[in-house]
Subunit: 299 residues, 4 copies
């Protein structure tokens, strides 16, 4: 798992006008991402609208991404579903389809029942059954379930649970996990918005929606940090944080997809109930991208 | 829709020891519920572990419930999924399988994106496509999405959106909806815990988990209320509120299933990630049921 | 404490243009309230801007309210402060100034430290030291501390803790308290928005901001309920719930004060940081009051 | 304001057994803190139990701290109260008593009314009236009010609003503020738990409760960061994060005071409603301090 570090874009799923997965569009996007020194690709993450895809679509997506991505890059696939049994099944199928690592959200419907015991049991059963390593996926804003530090530390001792992608931005917690987890347990930032702070908390990289449209700046933050050039790293972090807020936090997937279109990638519309980004906000997004040097930088 | 009033138990799904749906067990339970003056049955609700069932299982369940329930009782089936398209598809299939009304939760993953516009569009598309009436289902504790009063009032004007089941317990909101919604729009309490207060806010009945094990007391509260016998109604409400808290709020589905076993019905274990109720809590639950006169009353 | 039932307006504090307490204005308001069959007055509640008043102002207010209110009506005074010692001191002083009952909010700054033990100890110390009965005051929206049912039940056994005013609107909890608390423990609704549902949960009245401007309709809801005339009670509840939302929930004290001006009472501006209600919203508020029959009804 | 950088302990207020401020105890503590290269002292912060002190006690505390602290170190005093007028008054008096900077919490009772406009007006009035610079104080866990990035950026343009102490740990927001605020606007971490990540987000130091008992490690994190020695800085951060969680987050002021006693300072008990740390947790705290090298390091 030495390759589980660096920057991973959690790729959106492009749809054709008829609403089907746009395979040529995705192939084109992948060719573009391949030109950057990304560590791999996250498919079927929150940004990939996994919850809007059926099982057949999910497996086809993994196969396509695997076939169009260099062998030395990791394919992480989201396989966490609402029941333990279905999560195990999808994890196995995703592995067969080419996933190197399974990224597993906690079950997010019966939240008040997601006690420590329930989560340990759920993740342990999946990890026991999985042919590939498991990356925990903490995203309380979407799931309403916040995996706490001691739970993550406990799970880190399972031989097939190799790390956590944390989207909560709670960096005291990330540092706490880093100091107590099993040796080699990997921490990944769940957003470019706190990429540099997460590196300073001991993370080894990030799964950053922003890397879909601006991989260079995410990669540069990592490089500057590793080189100890903090002043420049902070400057880059400040450069992107506002665009990141627009692309991810506030407006969500519709904005990410619109930003992809703006930089020349295939974004497309999201599936309902998600709504297209209103024209007015697309215009504002364009300005933000230009201001941040991302729209120019891409040309 | 005159029949959309009174008490509806949101039935749990019994599983065999091998984890499959226990059809004989469910048939036995239905025969017992049929002995009470219930207005119908809710299948595939939150208490039915709908999120742990696949499509085939869901439709088979509806068919079984329909075939084992008197024709004059309504079958309400939960059909709200995470995408609009899948929700429409399941609503149509559920109708073919025998559902009289579709009970539709809001999409609960991209919560911050579930704006007024997104929800109006989502529900309108489903209602436009549905062969049967739609009952809105507000359950913010599980979904993280709280349908607000003005949204519900707006949706009440769609000819196929006939009411709302509210599990939030916000009765000021319920009264506000009652005063502003389209004529004939029905309000149903989502829990026995506030059944009588909800009737006083204008509700016409309730979808009460407690009615699975104690239909009589829920029915009596309605009858006393309609007869203006408030003192006795309040006494009954007080009698059940503690048991209701134990059965539904605090311990959830595992407790409801354990309570069913205690009163002689087929409860079974929930599917993981839900966990069986610990033995210690089963004992405590038994005491609470006895104290409330439910365990005795059943014998 | 037989008189602790019925409707109590939690009166706002009128300020002169120089920002001082407007004693003639308050005297005028009290004379108007005295014309209705209210059970008493709540002074120094949340609507009274107690947190914007100093100790001297608070005691002067209690004295004025006591002197201008008929002897047979109860004066409830808010005396809960952030430290136990200061709460005890103010409770004693408020008694000397004429308060019949002390209404005590929980401490609301170190919320995560407000454990069961801390709250039992805090309230017990105050009740032990108080010359007058204590009414618990649960208002989680403002305090971030939600007094739970079992805590309230435990405190109900203190001889000087005689009831709870609940503003959370959690009526399952209210019914639970009603069923388990010491005999004679009184429940009061904290808002007209759920007055009728609260009566159906066993409450004996309410502390309703709306009663400042529309005492008649609040009183009528109680009377209709006691007479078993539920249809009419529900109609009244529906009539007021929208105006109540405007006056209290959404726009808060500035709207309540504006509504008082609209009905001919002395409202005045709140003290900063509260802001005056914008003119546009005053106009909207007027329409809501007219629509609900309150502005006409008052003339 | 060049001195507004580095580490500031937010000091607890020691009380004698009779409950009065323990002046000799505080003097002893200050002498100890003076031996470290701290940038100054925060008095009347959340950790100082400001909400349990009356005005006279507050001013006496500021005077004592000022007189026992070297002139070249800054005294920051918490002066934010629930009304604008009282906040202005205390800010002026605190200045006279020796405060160099006023640390101002937002009003935290009428939270839903703390709109953008209300907060801009509140802070602007205080800053206009203050003889000394203002440091914004964002602590949503205690106040329920989260000052958002654009509000802080707007306020940063007031000539007397010189920075923000953020205790939320939202470092994407901190970086966003850093990239958009007026030049020279200072960011300070509100906890040692995310001190290093905050420095990486552009903070210039921290107000760290942990610095009361372990100033060396906080100072060393800053020094290592400034020297570009990130590996060692991360190791230190990991070393302290668990003890910080125990001392501040989980157990609060009672634990901080107990930790002070353990390292030989005067901690004392907090004022009620805060409770003393139970003996069992004191023992656990001792172990955590020893494990982190803080208890040994102090001797």
């Amino acid at each position: 798992m030495d390759r589980l570090q660096g920057i991973f874009p959690p790729i959106p799923t492009p749809f054709s006008t008829s609403g089907e997965i746009d395979r040529p569009g995705l192939t084109k996007n992948l060719a573009w991402w391949n030109r950057y020194a990304l560590a791999g690709i996250v498919v079927l993450g929150s940004n990939g609208e996994a919850v809007h895809l059926d099982r057949r679509e999910k497996l086809a997506l993994i196969e396509l991404v695997r076939s169009e991505t260099p062998e030395d890059r990791l394919i992480l696939a989201g396989t966490g579903l609402l029941s333990t049994k279905e999560s195990i099944r999808l994890t196995r199928e995703a592995t067969n389809a080419g996933a190197d690592i399974a990224l597993v959200l906690p079950p997010f419907f019966y939240r008040s029942q997601m006690t420590r015991d329930a989560l340990v049991s759920h993740y342990t059963q999946i990890a026991d059954a999985s042919p590939v390593p498991i990356l925990l996926y903490n995203m309380p804003a979407n799931t309403g379930v916040d995996l706490d530090a001691s739970l993550i530390v406990e799970l880190s001792h399972h031989e097939r649970i190799v790390g956590v992608k944390d989207s909560s931005g709670n960096l005291a917690k990330l540092a706490e996990i880093g100091g107590s987890a099993a040796p080699g347990f990997r921490l990944l930032a769940g957003s470019a918005g706190f990429l540099l702070p997460a590196l300073a908390a001991g993370a080894v990289g990030g799964v950053c929606a922003l890397a879909n449209v601006a991989p260079s700046v995410c990669l540069e933050i990592c490089q500057r940090f590793l080189a100890g050039d903090l002043e420049e790293a902070i400057a880059r972090q400040r450069q992107i944080v506002r665009v990141n807020a627009a692309v991810t936090r506030g407006w969500g997937i519709p904005a990410l997809k619109a930003a992809m279109e703006l930089v020349g990638l295939v974004g497309s519309l999201p599936r309902p109930p998600l709504r297209p980004l209103p024209a007015e906000q697309v215009a504002e997004l364009r300005e933000i991208l230009v201001e941040a040097g991302i729209l120019e930088g891409k040309r």
